[in-house]
């Protein structure tokens, strides 16, 4: 909404309208600043969760891999590979949802769910050791952390996008609209002052002429 000075009507009404627009723009900047502060707080809150969740995920995966290697050491890597060929797979489903959060932003919700449970063991128990069960269960639990981490990282991405938009809006108002409004207001004020000065001169000339006319008649 750029303002061309040439198209501005230098009237009091226009001046009042521009001043109203200016105070509204300043109000919007205040609101945007408060929004940005709230978004920043939320961002920090989310970002703080990421390292702990990532550490937990890495820890679980490391433990799972260690247990897997131990299982290979006990039963033999060839045997474990062979057993895995016919292992009953687990169907995981990720349901995606949206949750209205701060400032009405839609944050994603990722829900990991296991498909129907197999009633028996997933692989041969005679040929493998308990470490393989533990490793499989650790890997499974790490999936939940991975999905939670993905949810938070997506929320952070959305939050950063919203913050960038808000920042752009604020900059546009602060550094484009407000200077233009100020310039237009200043322009109208100058014109009106000029008109007032001309009127004052005109009044003084008229008063002088009236006085001269009165003296002539006297």
């Amino acid at each position: 909404m750029s303002i061309e000075l040439a198209s501005v009507h230098p009237t009091r009404l226009e001046l009042l309208r521009l001043r109203r627009r200016k105070s509204m723009a300043e109000g919007i900047v205040d609101i945007l600043k408060k929004d940005l502060d709230a978004l920043t707080l939320k961002l920090f809150e989310l970002v703080k969760k990421i390292p702990s969740l990532r550490d937990k995920m890495y820890k679980t995966l490391r433990e799972a891999y260690d247990l897997f290697i131990e299982a290979e050491m006990i039963s033999g890597s060839r045997k474990i590979e062979g057993v895995s060929l016919a292992a009953q797979p687990i169907d995981f489903k990720i349901s995606e949802g949206k949750k209205k959060g701060l400032l009405g932003i839609l944050f994603p919700i990722l829900q990991l769910s296991e498909g129907p449970r197999v009633s028996g063991p997933r692989f041969n128990l005679l040929d493998t050791s308990a470490n393989l069960d533990k490793s499989a269960s650790k890997i499974k639990s790490s999936f939940y952390d991975i999905v939670k981490l993905a949810e938070i990282e997506e929320s952070v991405r959305i939050l950063l996008e919203v913050m960038a938009i808000k920042k752009r809006q604020m900059n546009r108002i602060q550094f484009k609209i407000l200077p233009q409004l100020n310039a237009a207001i200043r322009y109208i004020e100058l014109i009106l002052e000029e008109t007032e000065r001309q009127d004052a001169v005109r009044v003084r000339v008229l008063q002088r002429k009236r006085k001269e006319r009165a003296l002539k008649h006297a």
Partner: protein, 359 residues
């Protein structure tokens, strides 16, 4: 029992037992590179099998295959030298490896692998030599075809019977359990054909092995949350100490502590001295982890085998043969652990903890 019939096998086993690696030698291998380990193993009875591996092909898998090949060859050599009844027992004992072969063929078919790919996972043994395994893989389209192509062996009929349940429930593991159950039942029947002291010793050692497997299976099934009424389908109830009734009782135990207490009580009731030693140790160590329990049970098997030699005369019975086979098997297993650990860069201290060594 006539001692004369052991005249050929006993010296052979005694010499082979002397050639087994010392625990310290195995521990020292931990942390070494694969090349270093293979060069050290070339100075042991594994030499012939390891030297067949090319330098470029040297990996944990190739070394593992060589060790297993050596174990199977040793069993086959001993079988040739054994008296008739022991030979029959050893041939059924080797069926455990044949069963592995069948199970791998089934798994490969389930995963729809082609014959070449599937052969990488198969260790041909006994009647299931490489040509037979390849032929079975090539002519079978699916699991049902595998049962058909093995119909000339007992595995065919076992698979056919188990296939009906598999079709209904779609639990692949049931097929594998059927084969394992058949093989262990057959080994148990072969033990029944042995006489006197041989039968007694074999029943203790092999019975302990089967019972330890059942104990591990029950605990793992419970940890996985499998229903109590389902667990018994995955067990091999052939032993006398832990028969069907005892296993049912163990399945009903709510936690690991009650389970161990029940094991001790049942072993006491059955007057199974060797079981009592192992379970007493489990109780003493206050074992709560399944991994530790597995290790104690495995070590218990070696200790029991060695105890059999001390309790009865070391010669002229099956005790020395079973002790040697168990010691050899755990040597292979320990070497496998060291090799895989070295390949994965596991610290020697942790590898040492994984080894099952006799006391």
């Amino acid at each position: 029992m006539c001692a004369w019939k052991y005249k050929r096998i006993m010296p052979k086993i005694a010499v082979a037992k002397l050639k087994l690696m010392e625990p310290k030698e195995i521990i020292d291998l931990a942390g070494m590179s694969l090349h270093h380990i293979s060069s050290i193993l070339e100075k042991t009875p594994y030499k012939a099998d390891i030297s067949e591996i090319g330098t470029k092909e040297l990996s944990a898998n190739s070394l593992e295959d060589a060790l297993l090949q050596n174990f199977i060859k040793t069993c086959e050599e001993l079988m040739q030298l054994s008296p008739k009844r022991i030979r029959l027992f050893l041939s059924t004992f080797l069926m455990k490896f044949e069963a592995n072969c069948v199970k791998t063929i089934l798994r490969a078919k389930q995963a729809e692998l082609d014959a070449d790919e599937a052969m990488k996972y198969i260790m041909p043994v006994g009647r299931l030599d490489e040509a037979r395994c390849r032929k079975t893989l090539e002519i079978s389209e699916n699991i049902a075809d595998v049962a058909d192509s093995l119909s000339d062996m007992e595995y065919g009929s076992v698979l056919e019977k188990a296939f009906a349940v598999y079709e209904e429930e779609k639990i692949f593991y049931l097929l594998e359990v059927a084969i394992d159950r058949h093989v262990y039942s057959k080994i148990w029947r072969a033990i029944g054909k042995l006489g006197g002291l041989d039968k007694k010793i074999a029943r203790t050692v092999i019975g302990l092995e089967i019972d330890a497997t059942n104990v591990k299976t029950i605990l793992r099934c419970k940890a996985m949350g499998i229903r109590e009424d389902q667990i018994s389908r995955y067990l091999i109830p052939v032993s006398e100490v832990f028969g069907e009734k005892e296993l049912e009782e163990l399945i009903r135990e709510p936690d690991i502590q009650c389970f161990i207490n029940s094991l001790v009580r049942l072993a006491r009731d059955a007057m199974a001295r060797d079981y009592q030693y192992i379970f007493a140790e489990i109780q003493k160590q206050n074992v709560t982890s399944l991994t530790t329990l597995e290790k104690v049970l495995d070590r218990g098997l070696i200790d029991t085998s060695l105890r059999m030699i001390k309790r009865y005369t070391p010669f002229f019975n099956i005790g020395l043969l079973l002790a040697f086979l168990n010691l050899k098997w755990f040597e292979v297993r320990n070497l496998r652990a060291v090799i895989r650990g070295s390949e994965a860069g596991i610290p020697p201290d942790r590898v040492k903890k994984m080894l099952v060594l006799p006391r």
